[in-house]
Symmetry: C2
Subunit: 177 residues, 2 copies
């Protein structure tokens, strides 16, 4: 978010067709919950298009990048790598340390799709579990980001939106700002 080091979400692995919606939801969740950019595998062009379209309509800044070399993005990351995995350390135990690392430099948050390579566990400074239960990479990413930003992401402002939803106790209201 503004005035802080970048937080970039890397979606690792994507099976076209089968993973389209999950990958799209990873991208949209990254955008909605405070990340600055999402990097999707280069075979996930359809998901990238959807996330860009939402950004055009509902505002940014938020960047979507397609890359074919997930491994080298991780290897060459100039900052801290966080890998979300059900095998990792509890988010509630490490979130303070991750926040400190983010105060010092950019964060790459890796979200697995298909099986991730073993070296990712080694390259990551933090392997983090949002519970050690099998559930959803989208849910894990959401809770992780909400805790990383300590809720501040919920108050962020959006620039260049064509549509703005006005919060309501009942019904729907969308305005053209």
């Amino acid at each position: 978010m503004q005035d802080a080091h970048d937080v970039v979400v890397l979606r690792y692995g994507h099976r076209p067709g089968r993973d389209d919606r999950m990958t799209t939801h990873v991208g949209l969740t990254a955008r909605a919950l405070g990340a600055d950019r999402v990097i999707l595998p280069d075979n996930a062009g359809q998901s990238a298009e959807t996330v860009r379209d939402i950004t055009d309509r509902f505002g940014g800044p938020f960047a979507v990048e397609l890359r074919g070399d997930q491994r080298s993005v991780v290897r060459n990351w100039d900052g801290t790598v966080v890998h979300l995995t059900m095998y990792g350390e509890p988010v509630q135990s490490v979130e303070e340390d991750v926040r400190k690392a983010h105060a010092d430099g950019p964060l790459l948050v890796v979200v697995g799709g298909e099986k991730v390579p073993w070296e990712l566990y080694e390259h990551a400074a933090f392997n983090v579990g949002v519970t050690n239960q099998p559930h959803s990479e989208v849910a894990g990413l959401a809770v992780f980001l909400d805790r990383l930003f300590a809720g501040a992401e919920l108050d962020r402002e959006w620039v260049d939106a064509e549509q703005v939803v006005v919060p309501r106790a009942e019904g729907k209201q969308v305005v053209d700002p």
Copy 2:
């Protein structure tokens, strides 16, 4: 969770095939993040099976129910109905009131799939937005539950698990308890 009124997640609407993974992830997220039960549409049998299988292997208690009458579940709910929607009031503004309502009785958390009927907005005591941005019903549910339970769900214990993941800073460890 234990020692509290039930929290039940209702998945509203499901298109077999297209929604299978999202509905499964709603169920798994409900289980992992502290809900007591998930109610899925009766055409989501495959998702129900997956969530039950995970509960058998990784522990409970957690119940999965298939119902064809989503409307009447909402209408006849004896407690508070919360509807998660991007058009609702900010979660950070209403979470305290929702927690108070949950201290008094069971909570039904409705997660939309296909378009939900208008009356749902009226029946819900709270229409809650985890941001007013379009992202993912799974992400919204995850952040909502983590905030409802104020993180206590991350420390819950599981009963009758066949497999237990031991948190690790690196690598994977699964034991047979």
